[in-house]
Amino acid sequence: MAIYKTTGLSLKILLGLLLCWHISGFTQNENARTLFAENKTAIFQIRVIDVTSGSKSVIGSGFLVNAEGLIATNYHVIQLAASKPEQYRIEYLTAGDKIGDLRLVDVDVINDLALVSAQGLKAQPLSLAVAEPPIGVPVFALGNPLDLGLTVVPGTYNGINQTSYHPRVHFTGSLNAGMSGGPTLSEAGEVIGVNVSSAGNQVSFLVPMAALHELIVESQNSSGAAGGMTRRIGQQLFDDQEEKFSRMLALDWPTMPLGQAQVINELKPFVKCWGGSNSSSEKAQFLSADRTCRSEDNIYLRGKFNSGVIEYQFFWLEANKLNAPQFYAYYQRLFADFVPGNSAEEKDVGDFNCDDQFVISDDSSDTLQQKANKKSKRKTKTVFCVRAYKDYPQLYDVLFLQGTVDNSHGAFLSHFTLAGVSQKNAKAFARKLMGVAKWR
């Protein structure tokens, strides 16, 4: 009975909802239209021109951040001009099809930002948001997707991603190639992030404003990139890893069991972990369980060269149905199969240089009781590989591999790769990991 009674009321509510929805849809469209119209003079297509061929090699977007003609964009948009200034120049194209030259002012490789400046560019700069907007508000990404002309993409602000060391704004909307470096605006017309990357299916990322504010201040206060862009990038990479590792190494690393071993759990916010095992497979002759942790950060440097990756991985193996030689045949196969977590080319890094030793895993952090128990000492084969960066001194990629070799029917294997790390930090990380991750 009650249903009939309330029918009239629910209908009214429904109508009201529909109306509201319609109005909100209307305002969103209206907002997009005004934002586009009001700000298009301050948003540009950024083009990197190959000097020899005279044609564009890369396109992206950028926006005016102050009245002196300073334009913000992504580092990866202008990367070619930063590493080979004699081969590439940068220019802008306005919404009104006006072309002008740009000078590279400063970069922030860690956050994928760059500042370029234009002489005599007359336009109203965009205002940069100082505070973070609330989660869920509609925001609008602007840029030049696929060279199609200035475009607005509506989406939702989903806050700063807390699961990566270098914060990124999670934007639910579609960023496409060419929109990189463009602004994402709030309804009030303030820039709330710089378009940077997409994970597909409406999951996109923006560089938070804090990083841009900092870069603008730095470029005005100091000489910025004096001494060359390569040196500046090298210094940024070095400083970033110094800070990252000092924070990470100062932590009390959380542990968890893996078989009879103790391994390192998720080190937030540096890495995310996954795990698996073959225990559900009926054909499995042995037990293999693993835990793999990897950083979400991936600092793009150039071409196929990226850095900043932290990855650690543990395997617990039990022979089960295999006899000792068979088990070791598998173990050796696994042991031989590790590669670094980042990619690099010949012009970026030297060859890996490796060493292997038998090491007794026994750390000073062991308690006296553990020391008394001989079982806490494990004989391992330990491999360490290093390659140096060619352009950025004091930075290395390292690969570490340590497997127990004193048990015929079981093994515990630790592996890590660190990309873009100093010698001191790589050694400290290795020491700490060997002390924490062990067969108990």
Partner: protein, 322 residues
């Protein structure tokens, strides 16, 4: 003076010969001839040779296919010579003949090499059977010990069959070569030599692997083991040559080592383009052996970490721009 008619085989080697006394010789397919040949392209009465001074005058007896003079030493000095000198080679039908006098010198006798006697001992079934069984057992055991998926005999069988058939073919090749070059075949001798080499290979591979692992010395496995295997091939080749050919010891060794050096050059040539090439992947010594075979000591974590400085310095050197 007697005349010797040699029937030549492949490569100009004498297959058998006829000795005919008297001043003249007839050759043909008919049984009335002094030299009777069964080649169907030879006429019943094909030719006659008459002794003239130091040589022979040849007369074609109206043969169907004629006579082809391949080589006449007399023609070397006098192109118009009609007399065939000793050492003349002719072809009638499809048969090659050499005509020489009974005073023709023969090669000096060759000393039986020691290997001939020793290796000759190997040509026995009673040696082959245990060797063969041993190789088979080792083959199966190696496969079994390295198999970490569910063991299936049919997979193992095909692998073992391939190896054994290959070894058998090798032995057959050497046996065939001996039959051809020395008219005797030491098939089992060759087979046993090859089986022995397989055993030495398995043992050395295993031993070098263990030493390399314990010393953390990748070059032992990378370089020393292949070089040892190549020397093993050289020894095997030389021993097989001794059994299958009439080569002198020096010739045998030069040939065997030469062949091995050739293999070495080809494999180096194959790798040479990869030398100094950049690889984005680390190449580390991944060998692992059973705990019972791990004999050496181990260093402490501190010692290991200290030792890394050198590695970083070397990495810097590798990354220096030219």
């Amino acid at each position: 003076m007697a005349v010797i008619i040699e029937v030549l085989g492949w490569g100009g080697k004498s297959r058998h010969h006829y000795r005919v006394e008297g001043p003249s010789v007839t050759i043909g397919r008919g049984y009335q001839n002094d030299v009777v040949l069964s080649d169907s392209h030879i006429s019943a009465s094909h030719l006659r040779l008459d002794a003239v001074g130091e040589g022979w005058q040849m007369s074609d007896l109206g043969s169907l296919n004629g006579v082809e003079i391949i080589k006449n030493p007399a023609a070397d000095s006098d192109p118009l010579a009609t007399v065939l000198a000793a050492g003349t080679e002719i072809k009638i039908g499809r048969t090659k003949l050499r005509i020489i006098a009974d005073s023709h010198p023969v090669e000096a006798a060759k000393e039986l090499h020691r290997l001939d006697k020793d290796v000759g001992q190997l040509n026995r079934f009673s040696i082959w059977l245990p060797l063969f069984l041993l190789v088979l057992v080792i083959d199966v055991a190696t496969l079994y010990a390295s198999s970490f998926i569910e063991w299936q005999w049919k997979n193992a069988l095909s692998s073992i069959l391939y190896t054994q058939v290959f070894l058998l073919m090798l032995a057959l090749f050497w046996g065939g070569l001996g039959r051809f070059l020395r008219e005797e075949s030491n098939f089992l001798g060759h087979y046993n030599l090859i089986l022995l080499a397989t055993l030495v290979y398995s043992a050395s591979d295993w031993l070098i692997g263990i030493i390399g692992y314990n010393l953390s010395a990748e070059f032992l496995v990378d370089t020393v083991a292949p070089l040892f295997n190549l020397s093993l091939v050289a020894v095997l080749l030389s021993a097989n040559f001794a059994l299958a050919t009439n080569m002198l010891a020096r010739q045998r060794w030069i040939t065997s080592v030469g062949l091995v050096v050739l293999i070495l050059i080809v494999s180096i040539a194959n790798q040479i383009q990869a030398w100094g090439e950049f690889s984005p992947y680390p190449e580390y010594f991944a060998a692992l052996e059973l705990p019972v075979l791990q004999l050496g000591g181990a260093e402490s974590v501190d010692q290991f970490i200290e030792g890394l400085d050198e590695l970083f310095a070397d990495a810097d050197r590798l990354a220096e721009k030219d």
